[in-house]
Symmetry: C2
Subunit: 197 residues, 2 copies
């Protein structure tokens, strides 16, 4: 086995570890990439290198960006007094695709879980309470997944908030459903029909 075969095997093994890809689809993807070396493989390698070198978590909200503060936190137009709480960045992206919300986000980084020993300190919840005071937040929109852990977390947060209106996405989010699976229209409807929590 020459160096290239080893290098290709190494690449297949790395690809196979990505969520959604197994060994077979990783092999297919690598052969596809090798066939399209100039058009796809090199641009993909460059894009990965760029993002790996520049991407970081926003110190304020947990979103991904290149600066200490992400583009949403840095955007003064989004200082609406509304703060949308999501579990992870994929959910923030889903909300943004819905284009229903013009305020800022707070990415928890997961849900409270007694089983996995995840408490408020692990979840950027102290930072949330700090932001609500510092940024003049008047409404907190809970956009957590409609799962047991998501709703436990929503209730925990709601109980610890005072002097702000707390709403939650309501209509359209199916029981057991996860935000990132919903189409944009469903997210829009759920946002518009948000109700007092």
């Amino acid at each position: 086995m020459d160096d290239s075969t080893r290098e290709i095997e190494h690449l297949v093994n790395l690809m196979a570890k990505l969520p959604g890809l197994g060994p077979r689809s990783a092999r297919r993807a690598v052969l596809h990439l090798i066939k399209k070396r100039a058009l796809v493989m090199t641009p993909l390698a460059n894009a990965l290198q760029n993002v790996a070198a520049t991407a970081r978590e926003c110190v304020n909200c947990g979103n991904i960006g290149t600066q200490d503060r992400c583009d949403i936190c840095a955007n003064e137009k989004r200082a609406t007094g509304q703060l949308c709480i999501v579990e992870d960045v994929a959910d923030l992206w889903a909300m943004e695709r819905g284009q229903a919300f013009g305020g800022r986000y707070h990415v928890l980084g997961g849900t409270l879980s007694a089983l996995d020993a995840v408490g408020p300190e692990e979840l950027r919840i102290p930072k949330l309470l700090e932001r609500i005071r510092a940024e003049g937040i008047t409404e907190v929109v809970l956009a957590l997944n409609v799962t047991v852990d998501g709703q436990t977390t929503a209730h925990y947060i709601a109980e610890h908030l005072t002097h702000v209106s707390v709403t939650s996405l309501a209509q359209g989010v199916p029981i057991g459903g996860e935000l990132d699976y919903l189409d944009d229209g469903t997210i829009q409807a759920a946002f518009k029909a948000r109700k007092q929590f």
Copy 2:
């Protein structure tokens, strides 16, 4: 939208074009990579860059390697007089995983297809006839997919070969099945039970 957001979107779009990944799994994969920047993303970028810079088709058999001749063609131990004909490199890899075959390969690069106007010249078939003379081949093993086009191609090749024994993978390959989907044991059984074509 800052540069990073654009760069991340660009990366998601590139990933979404890989076979087996759609937009949603591409977003999940990119977030997973960003979380594991040092451990996974940078090594993946480097592996892609290495393979993109070095991978090329073997001029002899069509396999992927770093040299003009791949490691199998360059390996004198594999000059057994047996030549295994496969449609593409994924099938060659599947045969190698089966560990049943010790000779060399010839990768056609597809199948004959009247519909898609794929003739013998498009398929490395002239090179095959040249190799059979030059490499002292005594047995050609047809390991083509059991599809209409695969079997048409197998028959075409068998008709144009003289003075060599022509066998084909037989037992264990299901009708309509494709080699790359089979488990290693099935491939071994099919190879051992190969029959006169």
